[in-house]
Amino acid sequence: MGIPLNAYLLVGAILFSLGTLGVLIRRSVLVIFISVELMLQGVNLTFVAYSAFLEDMAGSMFAVISLTVAAAEAAVGLAILVALSRRVTEFYVDRLDSLKW
């Protein structure tokens, strides 16, 4: 295994930070969701890389669980999105500010 762990972690960090940036700057709920998935990709990569380098299956285990969570989150989140778009026909988060005050 010639590639050092640090390289994988760095790629994970890049993906995670890009995802964060996407969550923070994009207005569309859909794209924000996609960005969250991107963050999860970064995390998953970190998990699996550690799992391989530590020679321990716990990391892979967590990657599996995290996949599960991602799937569940996407399902529920998109269902909320559909329900929301039916009610307010709006999926730009900066216009959804009824939480104010």
Binding site: M1, G2, I3, L5, N6, A7, Y8, L9, V11, G12, A13, I14, L15, F16, S17, L18, G19, T20, L21, L24, I25, R26, S28, L30, V31, F33, I34, E37, L38, Q41, L45, V48, A49, S51, F53, L54, E55, D56, M57, A58, S60, M61, V64, I65, L67, T68, A70, A71, A72, A75, V76, L78, A79, L81, V82, A83, R86, F91, Y92, D94
Partner: protein
């Protein structure tokens, strides 16, 4: 060695570029497709790390299920109506970019400097052991169904709850047949303890219009 290096270089560059595309492309469909590219290349890295099984799962679940779900949702929503909208939160972008860069610098610092794997803290699943077991799928299964059985079951319940929740949330209450489930149960019980179908019908008749009004 060099094969791996070349592969890794390719995978990481494409994943990064696709990641940038995911967050910067205008159309949500393009974003989702970029995410698929990221997913594929991360899966490739999983293969590089010797975890073929997880790579397969990654492709199946992400590319096959989640992204397809995204695309379905986009199909349900009328996206063309929003084509003229700005895609970026303009007031926040000047704060968000520095903070994201700062975050990257921090995590990157940790990623580059901290990890030092000594032999002492390594676990029992060396590549040799994994190949003895028959591959990463077997290795993961050994752990999953022994040590992590409970989290596995909890995760399955989570998925079930998500499936039910998604259905409940996304249904249209006005035209959904599911809204009449309580009435159906009532009718069924009326059939069960009534003497015959006629009485049950007489029970059913007044209850039917009440739920519409």
């Amino acid at each position: 060695m060099t094969d791996q290096l070349i592969a890794f270089t390719y995978l990481s560059i494409v994943a990064t570029v696709a990641g940038v595309g995911t967050i910067s492309l205008r159309s949500p469909v393009h974003c989702a497709l970029s995410l698929v590219i990221v997913v594929f290349h991360v899966a490739g890295m999983f293969v590089l790390l010797g975890n073929g099984f997880l790579a397969a799962i990654q492709v199946i679940v992400y590319a096959g299920a989640i992204v397809v779900l995204f695309l379905f949702t986009m199909m349900l929503l009328d996206l063309r109506r929003h084509e003229q909208e700005r895609t970026v939160h303009r007031r926040q972008i000047w704060l968000a970019i520095p903070i994201a860069i700062l975050l990257f610098v921090e995590i990157g610092t940790i990623a580059v400097t901290k990890p030092e794997i000594s032999e002492g803290i390594k676990g029992s699943f060396s590549p040799a052991t994994i190949s003895d077991l028959g591959g990463s799928a077997q290795a993961l299964a050994t752990v999953l169904f022994n040590e992590y059985l409970l989290p596995f079951e909890v995760a399955s319940v989570l998925l079930l709850a998500a499936a039910v929740g998604a259905m409940v949330l996304a249904r249209n209450p006005d035209e959904d047949a599911l809204a009449s489930v309580p009435d159906m149960i009532q009718d069924a019980s009326g059939l069960a303890d009534g003497d015959g179908g006629q009485e049950a019908e007489s029970v059913e008749a007044p209850s039917a219009p009440s739920r519409d009004g």
